[in-house]
C-alpha cells in the first residue's frame, strides 16, 4: 500500500486515464452495437454473420489484438480504444437483440394495430421494454473493458496498467497492488451503478399482472 499512499496524485491521474479509455470505448461500442443489434432484429439473416464476427473478435487474446492494431493505429490510446470497442461489441449487440426479441409479440401487434410506424414501435415500445436487457449487456461490456484496459498500458495507452507493468518489471509488489486495487474498485463501482440503473429500468417495465 505504500506506493498508493506515497503517490496518490499519480495513481489518480492513471485512474482517470483508465476511466477515460474504458468509458470512451464503451460509449462508442454502444453507439455502434445498439444500432447493429436493432438492424439484426429487422434483417434476420444478418444475425449469424454479425454475432459470429463479434464472437470471433471477442476470442482474440487482448495482447494479440493490441499488437495487430498497431500497424493501423500506431501506439498509444488509439489501438487500445479500438480494441476495447471490438471486445465490447459482442455483449452489447447480443443483448440488444435479446432485449428486443423478448418484447411480448402481442404488444407489438397492438402497437402496429394502433397505427405506430416501425420507428415509433422501436422508440416507444421495443427499446424502452428491451432496456433492462440492453443495460445488462452494457454492464458486462463495461466491467470487462475496465479489466482489459489494463493490458492497454503495454501499447502505451496509459491507465492503471502502467503501474502493474512497472511493478512486474521492477519486481515491486507495491506498485502492482497500487494498480490493481483501483481497477477492482472501478469495476465494482461501475458494475454496481449500472446494475442499479438496470433495476430502475426493469421496475418500469415489469410485466403487467395477469388475471382479474
Amino acid at each position: 500500500m505504500s506506493y498508493l499512499l506515497a503517490r496518490p496524485d499519480r495513481v489518480w491521474t492513471l485512474t482517470l486515464e483508465h476511466v477515460q479509455l474504458s468509458a470512451v470505448a464503451v460509449v462508442v461500442a454502444i453507439l455502434i452495437g445498439v444500432p447493429l443489434g436493432i438492424l439484426v432484429t429487422r434483417t434476420r439473416w444478418l444475425e449469424g454473420p454479425v454475432i459470429n464476427t463479434a464472437g470471433v473478435l471477442y476470442t482474440v487474446p487482448s495482447l494479440a489484438l493490441f499488437a495487430m492494431l498497431i500497424p493501423f493505429t500506431g501506439l498509444g490510446a488509439r489501438p487500445a480504444i479500438v480494441a476495447l470497442i471490438l471486445y465490447s461489441l459482442l455483449a452489447i449487440i447480443r443483448n440488444t437483440v435479446a432485449g428486443i426479441d423478448a418484447v411480448d409479440p402481442r404488444l407489438l401487434d397492438a402497437a402496429r394495430g394502433m397505427g405506430m410506424t416501425g420507428r415509433q414501435r422501436l422508440m416507444l415500445v421495443e427499446l424502452p421494454l428491451g432496456l433492462p436487457v440492453i443495460l445488462a449487456g452494457v454492464r458486462v461490456a463495461t466491467v470487462s473493458a475496465i479489466g482489459i484496459a489494463t493490458v492497454a498500458a503495454y501499447v502505451g495507452a496509459g491507465g492503471l496498467g502502467v503501474l502493474i507493468f512497472d511493478g512486474i518489471r521492477t519486481i515491486d509488489g507495491d506498485r502492482i497492488v497500487a494498480g490493481a486495487i483501483p481497477i477492482s474498485i472501478l469495476a465494482l463501482l461501475s458494475d454496481w451503478s449500472l446494475a442499479r440503473l438496470g433495476g430502475a429500468a426493469r421496475r418500469d417495465v415489469a410485466p403487467s399482472a395477469g388475471g382479474a
Binding site: A110, G115, A209
Partner: protein, 333 residues
Amino acid sequence: MIRLEGVSKRFGGAQGAPAVDDVSLVVGAGELCVLIGPSGSGKTTTMRMINRLEVPTGGRILVDGKDVMTLDSVALRRQIGYVIQQVGLFPHMTIEENVAIVPRLLGWPAERRRRRAEELLELVGLAPDQFRRRYPRQLSGGQQQRVGVARALAADPPIVLMDEPFGAVDPITRKGLQRELRRIQEEVRKTIVFVTHDIGEAFLLGNRIVLMRDGRIVQDAAPAELLRRPADPFVTDFIGEDRGLRALEYTTLAELATPAPAGSTGPFGAVLPADLSIVEGLRRLAAEGRAVADARGFWVGDDRGGPSAQVTYQDLVATLGEALAPEGAIERS
C-alpha cells in the same frame, strides 16, 4: 361502413387450405357485428384484414367506400380502434399514457390528450384521479380490459375492432365488462367488429352474428334469426343446448303479435311494450296479470302510444313449444 367482397387469405403460398375463403360481409355504421366460430375458423384473420394487419390474398375490403389496400396502412389503423386479447397495454406507460397513445401518434397537444384520457376513463368507469398515474400491472385484469377499451376509443375512431377482448378475465368480471360495453356502445355508436368464441357473449352484444367455420361464413344473421332459423346442424350445435331458451330472450313480442281482428273489443287497461323479449313479456304478464291480459291474449303497443297488435295465447304457446322442443323436432327452413 365496412364491406368485404369475396375476401380470401392463404398463409404461406398457394398450397394448403385457405385461412379465409371467399368471405363477403357488410357491417353497417353503428352496428356491432360479432364474428364467431371455433379456433381456426378464420374469424380473427378476417378481422385483422380490415386494418391490414393481414393482407388479403383475394377479394377486396372497403372502409367507407375506399379499398383499404389503396390507403396508407398507418393512417388507416389510426382511425380504427383496436382492442386485443389479453389487453396489450404497454407496461412501461401509465394508464393515462396508454389511453392517449393514438392521440399522441396523431400529434395532439398534451393538454388535449390529458383531457381526452380523463373523459375516456370516466366513460369506462375508472375514476381518472385514482387511475391516471398508475401502471397497468397495478390494475386488475378487468380494469386493464376497461383501459384497453378506452384506449381503442381515444381518437374517436368510427370503427373499432375487438379481438376476444374479454377472453382472459373470469366469468363474473366478463359479464360486467360485457354489460359495460353495451352501455358504452349505446353512448358512442361505433361500427364494431367483435371476435369471440363465446356464444353467450355473441348473443349479449351482437346486432349481427356471423358464424364462421373453416374460413367460410356459415350463417350471417341477426341473433333472433340465428336462433330460430339455424342454417345447418353446425349452427345448431354451436349455439348449444339452450338454444330454445335463448331464442325466447331474443324474440320480441312484436314478432309474435298479429293485428287485432276486426270488431275486437280492444285492450283492457295497459299494454305491454312491443319491444320486450318473450321472456320479459312473460315476466310482466306474471306480475301484472289481468291488467294487461284477457281471455284471448294480451295487447302490445309501441312507444308512439296506442295498442297496435295482439298476442294470442295460442301463438304464445306455439312459440314456447317450438323453443323448448327437443333438438331435431324443430323444422329447419
